[in-house]
Assembly symmetry: C2
């Protein structure tokens, strides 16, 4: 983390390198969402937010105007990034929509698929004569929603964490969601929350499989691909 920080400072202190994304508006989601059950309990997805934060930082270093819509995480905001904190999927969707129009949207967050009908006060053990029924409701699909939005970003990128049939599931997700790229993350080796990722980039042109590498390096490579695609 110290080296990363030094590197960030050196690169922002150096004479402007490539500012190839100057003037481009990019929205990124990162982290989990927390869906309240009552004032003290919630449902969540495991997600450290590290990959999304690294991508936000990499794009800001290339001069992009980056808005990072973040679920609850314990991470510092990357330099030059505007961060908006949210807790639930509904809040995340609303925050993403408020950032439009944008040139690129990258949905890295591990959004909870379901939310519970939250009780306004703490459910007491025993008061319901056994475990409560949670009455789950499906959350909005933020990626699919952007794909059909009248302000759809020109480049719309989704993430998929998969434990099996990684490329097959990711290709199906690309078609189903109507986005441009899927970054498929093979989490079968329990890399979630770790510092490295094993990535397949799925586009209309096919599949690129990257060797396992640090999340910061995944972020740099993805930023390069985005420059190639939109500049």
């Amino acid at each position: 983390a110290v080296f990363a920080e030094i590197e960030d400072r050196l690169s922002s202190a150096a004479p402007k390198r490539s500012q190839s994304l100057a003037g481009k508006r990019i929205v990124i989601t990162a982290g989990p969402t927390h869906e309240p059950i009552d004032p003290v309990r919630y449902i969540a997805n495991r997600s450290s937010g590290r990959q999304g934060y690294a991508i936000a930082g990499a794009l800001a270093r290339l001069g992009a105007d980056v808005e990072l819509i973040s679920g609850p995480v314990s991470l510092e905001t990357p330099r030059g990034v505007k961060r908006i904190d949210v807790e639930t999927a509904l809040e995340m969707e609303a925050a993403v929509n408020r950032t439009l129009p944008a040139d690129v949207a990258i949905l890295v967050a591990a959004v909870a698929d379901w939310r519970a009908e939250a009780s306004p006060r703490k459910i007491k053990k025993g008061e319901t004569g056994g475990p409560p029924e949670l009455n789950l409701t499906e959350n909005p699909d933020i990626l699919a929603g952007l794909a059909t939005h009248d302000q759809r970003p020109a480049l719309l990128i989704g993430f998929a964490a998969e434990t099996d049939k990684v490329v097959g599931h990711a290709k199906a997700k690309l078609d189903r969601k109507g986005c441009d790229w899927i970054v498929a993350n093979d989490v079968s080796g329990d890399v979630m929350g770790g510092t490295e990722n094993s990535i397949h980039l799925i586009t209309a042109n096919g599949v690129e499989s990257w060797e396992q590498m640090p999340k910061r390096e995944v972020a740099r490579r993805l930023a390069e691909r985005i420059v190639d695609a939109i500049v």
Copy 2:
């Protein structure tokens, strides 16, 4: 945090002050538990772990042999404390039982009351034709279990986070659980995860209500009371 660290170092560098808890074995639980729904989803309680960690640190500074059984949190282990990381309520219960015998047990953790029947693979949205049923099961009550354990600690302290009828609920909890003290935390002002707590200490002798104060100060006062009770 910097001042707290300086203070800790000064006090541990200073000529031994009161080591009044030397030789006493104390087990403390802290933080939330995470109950998996599948490899990426879980149910949790809101808890930063800060109050439990502060108590562990305060007791270690008085010379106690402290074992801290911690759910998932983003905190550094206080100096001189032995920390054991767990994720679920069942793991926390097993870890607590392995630390016995102990002179004092302080159960600060916000243990999830229920666990789900976890799926070994990621539940796909849509595969169940709607939100899944979670099949919740009640988790063991670690505090009540210790109260009737044949190695029951001589001083058994529970915590209660309450939003209403704080003292009444806490007194009822003291009787129901069979513990010696309840530290009742009034969370109606949304102090959970913050740096201050508003405490009522419930014992067989009655109720002491403390003004709202930093969690570190709550820890110091509670440590003093423990010294008075067992030394």
